[in-house]
Symmetry: C2
Subunit: 406 residues, 2 copies
Amino acid sequence: MATLSPLHGLRLALATTRNWALVGTIIMLGACAFAPTPHGTADLATVIARADGQVAILDTTAGQWTGKINGLGDLSHASIVYARDGRQAFVFGRDGGLTKIDILSHTILARSMQAGNSIGGAISQDGKLVAVANYEPGGVRVFDSETLKLVADIPTFIGDGPDRSKVIGLVDAPGNRFIFTLWDAGEIWVADFSSSNKPAIKRYDNIGTNPYDALITPDGRYYIAGLFGEDGMAMLDLWHPEHGVRRILDHYGKGENRLPVYKMPHLEGWAMAGNRAFVPAVGHHEVLVIDTRNWKEVGRIPVHGQPVFVMAHPDGKHVWVNFSVPDYDTVQVIDTESLKITGELKPGTGVLHMEFSPRGDQVWLSVRDENKVIGYNPYTLEPIAELPLPSPSGIFMSHRAGRIGL
Amino acid sequence: MATLSPLHGLRLALATTRNWALVGTIIMLGACAFAPTPHGTADLATVIARADGQVAILDTTAGQWTGKINGLGDLSHASIVYARDGRQAFVFGRDGGLTKIDILSHTILARSMQAGNSIGGAISQDGKLVAVANYEPGGVRVFDSETLKLVADIPTFIGDGPDRSKVIGLVDAPGNRFIFTLWDAGEIWVADFSSSNKPAIKRYDNIGTNPYDALITPDGRYYIAGLFGEDGMAMLDLWHPEHGVRRILDHYGKGENRLPVYKMPHLEGWAMAGNRAFVPAVGHHEVLVIDTRNWKEVGRIPVHGQPVFVMAHPDGKHVWVNFSVPDYDTVQVIDTESLKITGELKPGTGVLHMEFSPRGDQVWLSVRDENKVIGYNPYTLEPIAELPLPSPSGIFMSHRAGRIGL
């Protein structure tokens, strides 16, 4: 080591000092960047850009992206739920990745490859637990929403055997419960975390062949599973679990002139408006109208193609429908009172998802093949913003933080 | 200056370095402190401390106050609505004060003494307009939600004359409309701001004597006004304004053995659960059960006192009821299916307000005479937090930002 004069020492000190101050400043500015931007969360949405493993944050008031979060893995068929504060969200990737993100600072807070193959998740009513539905290994894993530490592992054994069933249709229900179906076993399970993190599990068997998706009504009362292997649907009334699972809509999925089914409709896309549910028909160019007081079909509305999502406007006066290939360039609007089609949009090829702002002043559409997300005024059908995003799919408004089953 | 050895120089350098780093850190931490706190908004609530002209911000996840905002004037009978972002809120004081607050930074963003005497307000569906119902001078004033600049002034003249009516029952409705009643004129007015800030106004007259309060159903379809001067209620179906206002619940307010009415019940406190509305009876120890398909009374539930608010748990299985003096130390829980009372709490004297967390894991009560706000688990009725606050009254969860009519 060369000798240093005192001056050299001081110069070095100052140089070092400046650097340290700079480093400190950079570190602290970095920390500030992690602190929130001056924005609330209630008017933000997350949008999945599935080709890029990216989630974009949409400011629905400004009609602009506020930022993007990368590195989220395989986001095909990904979904998002929100923490209690509406700021933190949980991204469920198809590859088993569970990622906790901060939608204000656009950062990843925690990430876990919790399984090999997953299909969505849910957050408990009290916000403390996040559950993931896994195909491989079959089961549900439940994590502390703060730390993403494993809290409970629920392997879904088929019968008494060693084989596990794939899990699907996982939702939260009131009373800190998670509900899900077993694809390979034809069962519905209710895991009750209200007393402790060792859940009380109730199994309902023989619900039908290959439940492929499920929904829970907005009040959290009825859990309804669609069946891939047979017609009809399986319904559990959570106010009366003692009545067991009963079959509804015996003809759901049936039909003499059934067309090839291009895509099984999403059940999360059932629209509830007043006493009616508006339900995509399987393999038909129809939306079914169901009376939710007795769960009987009371009407069919001819539409442009095979419906995928049927979404209710928050005011209940209209439902919006998108379609599977080859009709996925079109969205139709149905009046829930007259049951007539009152509007139609052609936003572009590949309309995958629609999401209303919570009070219904806006609706946002993902148009995958055009690489854009478009916002509309749902009353005038005029566009309000068009934003570029590679291969957008699911759109999730943050008000879901306050909704049962979302 | 003493000569320094190279070693001294290095020591000094390091010492100075540490100080600079420390100073930088302190400066930047200071800057960070002015930046918003690291919190979302979806789990926050505002609570009015009316004796002190103060609003306290409640973190419902932590069960703690995050801060208080002072200088809000006369907050007796005050109410709060939220901006689209859930972070900014508008406080309507009794003294005509309209104050825009930031619930993360705990600051006043803007304030206007917009009238002499006011009774609540609303925010438009698109979040751009804030309307205030005024007694003096009688009318509605509408402000830009960003700047609080006056956008529209709607004086409520009685008939064609120069006198103005007091305004009450102001709510927002889908399609950027505000709806309100004229106490002195017996009218309902609909002000439609969907096309411009010069509203199209539609007047409905002869609705009944002295409408004293009103509500709008959660989907924004039915506007219902209570009548102080006669029995029955006035209802406008906003899907069919061409049908005009019709009378429902002819006997509402009537009864052979009517007791002295200590406090007119709040209509905002109607609970909608499934096809039923649970409504406080006027001057009776009863909650009325209404079928919302035909707006007929279908039952009466005997309760502990004269009900003031009847609030539905978000899961629709129970409604909670509080009472007017002298029974305002009690809260009762009614099962909406069996119509039986299934729970009772005695939180203390002066239970003025109840508010559920949006997914129903908590309920928060203002206990005025005990100067505290208490949170409960509504399933177990166990308290989860008890927080001091002088004379608390209204509690407003921020998820109201995403609800029609709230």
